[in-house]
């Protein structure tokens, strides 16, 4: 097992009380590893690809379906798993602006200072059901990321320029 995977396992064992982490190793180290995390009655499977990172799956993922989230560091992947194990059932489906901010260990007030708005404005944006694309871009940029909008069709896959 490589150091990254060992670091991931150690983080989980330290962060989730009573959890068990089973490693399903490939024949060759460069192959695809599977990690099964058990805690109480809950179980979660992740895939680890040494050159790509950790894949987190939708809880209803079908046969041979890929991960819905990919994390390139053990630390971030472990924090996401801890988040998911602590989440209510209805909050496990996908990442929200709030859970993304928390995943990166940021406070609303830090984001607000970076954007130049009040903390209450960040709180409102995180709670809204509909958020403007420009607001999402500002929030994600303040967290250190970027946003892109893509459109998928049966015969094409394109990056969409909107609001410009």
């Amino acid at each position: 097992m490589d150091n990254v995977l060992e670091q991931f396992r150690t983080s989980l064992l330290a962060s989730i009380k009573g959890c068990r982490v089973d490693i399903d190793a490939p024949d060759k180290e460069a192959g695809n590893w599977w990690i099964d995390v058990h805690a109480g009655k809950r179980r979660m499977s992740l895939e680890y690809r040494p050159k790509k990172g950790f894949g987190v799956f939708d809880r209803d993922a079908g046969y041979g379906e890929g991960p819905c989230e990919v994390y390139r560091t053990a630390n971030l992947a472990a924090r996401r798993v801890v988040q998911l194990f602590g989440a209510h059932k209805e909050d496990r489906a996908s990442l929200t602006l709030k859970t993304l901010r928390e995943l990166y260990g940021l406070q609303q007030v830090e984001i607000a200072q970076k954007i130049g708005v009040k903390q209450s404005a960040i709180s409102r944006s995180e709670q809204r059901k509909e958020v403007k694309l420009g607001t999402i871009e500002s929030l994600v940029k303040a967290m250190g990321g970027t946003v892109e909008v893509r459109a998928h069709f049966p015969d094409s896959d394109v990056k969409l320029l909107v609001g410009r």
Binding site: R49, Y63, E65, V70, D157
Partner: protein
């Protein structure tokens, strides 16, 4: 079509297909059958090089293959919710991670994957 119906359609087509005669032929049967189901029902273009989910289901890749302890004639291909066992004779067995058998299809010699490394009856 729901995920359950897609899985049922995939398994039904595998059951109806002629038995494969080698591990490579069984992998090819899985690939062509799943791709046909997904082309028909998912509406998502086939992009097997993509790792992150596009909503489409993909057949087992060699990178996810493992040897099976005490079963030298069988390879196991892991995915998020399933283990797919393929025998050197072309047998295919799909189980959920909890061990429920979804498909147990014999190879061309009529032997199933988990019969391969067992001693034959006299």
């Amino acid at each position: 079509m729901s995920r359950k119906q897609r899985l049922r359609g995939f398994v039904k087509r595998l059951e109806a297909a002629a038995n494969a005669n080698s591990l490579a032929a069984a992998l090819e049967l899985l690939r062509t059958t799943l791709n046909a189901v997904e082309d028909e029902f998912s509406g998502i273009p086939n992009n097997p090089l993509l790792w992150e989910s596009d909503g489409r289901w993909y057949p087992p890749q060699e990178d996810s293959g493992r040897n099976v302890p005490d079963r030298p004639s069988v390879r196991r291909y892991r995915s998020v919710g399933h283990n797919t066992f393929i025998g050197q004779n072309g047998a295919i067995r799909i189980e959920t991670l909890a061990g429920a058998i979804i498909l147990d299809k014999a190879g061309a010699d009529d032997r199933r994957a988990f019969d391969l490394d067992e001693p034959r009856n006299p």
